[in-house]
Subunit: 125 residues, 2 copies
DNA sequence: TGTGTGTACTATGTCACATAGTACACCAAA
DNA sequence: TTTGGTGTACTATGTGACATAGTACACACA
């Protein structure tokens, strides 16, 4: 389920967060779905349980998941809407990215072509 | 000339690299222009000379600048073309970004509007 | 000769990240 | 009740990137 890159500059605990959040956005993980246990996932990914714990703790803090003592962790009801709002806020950063492409000689049509191709396709992952 | 964010996760030496490269792309720094000295810039930015040295060393390795022993560092002839080609290669990552915005409920028109606004304006910085 | 330039090197400190190990409280099933 | 699985909390340790501190050397130019 999770794919880690131990050589990446992105911390492992953050890679787990990012991937889990993308699963939520793509409806692969829906509200009240139980997550893998801290210990179970640590064995599967061959990393320390504390690292998983750190990821889950942060996700809980963001309201993406909730934990039930003695039971496990689950996707929260509002997970997707929270993440959707966050993603929308990334719209503003597009301006900087496009500016960079512009000075590099990329035309607006090239960008728009990519936009169209993404929105024609079905769900991607 | 340079603006540092010491709280950023991005290393200082990398912030310097990024900003200098953006200056080149925006024709603020042109070929054979002399860069601030390692010691001078370290005083101006209140950071260690070795940090500047690391930035310059990496820029030299990328072919963005060249150093003349005893004279100083200068913008290389091919600096802009090198960086332009690198920026163009970022086009491919647009697909992933747009996919994320799509699942978040952002419409294609919203994106295209931003594209147009950027390409209408003059140089940004 | 003197000053400013890039370059190289070792040593040190700090911090995020990850690991290791232990312990406790809770829930559910046997 | 007992047992095993769950989340949670805590301390200690190791590692590596990053930055600093200090020194030293070779080169160019006035």
């Amino acid at each position: 389920m999770f794919q880690l890159d131990l050589l990446s500059r992105t911390p492992v605990y953050e890679q787990i967060i990012n991937q889990l959040e993308s699963f939520v956005l793509n409806d692969i993980l829906t509200p009240h779905t139980q997550l893998p246990s801290v210990r179970g996932l640590s064995v599967e990914l061959s990393i320390n349980p504390n690292t998983i714990q750190k990821s889950y703790s942060e996700l809980d803090h963001r309201g993406i998941i909730y934990s039930v003592p003695g039971r496990g962790c689950f996707i929260s009801e509002d997970a997707k809407s929270i993440l959707s709002n966050l993603s929308r806020s990334k719209l503003s950063s597009l301006e900087d990215l496009f500016s960079e492409l512009k000075v590099a000689g990329v035309t607006k049509d090239e960008i728009k072509t990519i936009v169209d191709s993404v929105y024609e396709k079905g769900a991607k992952l």
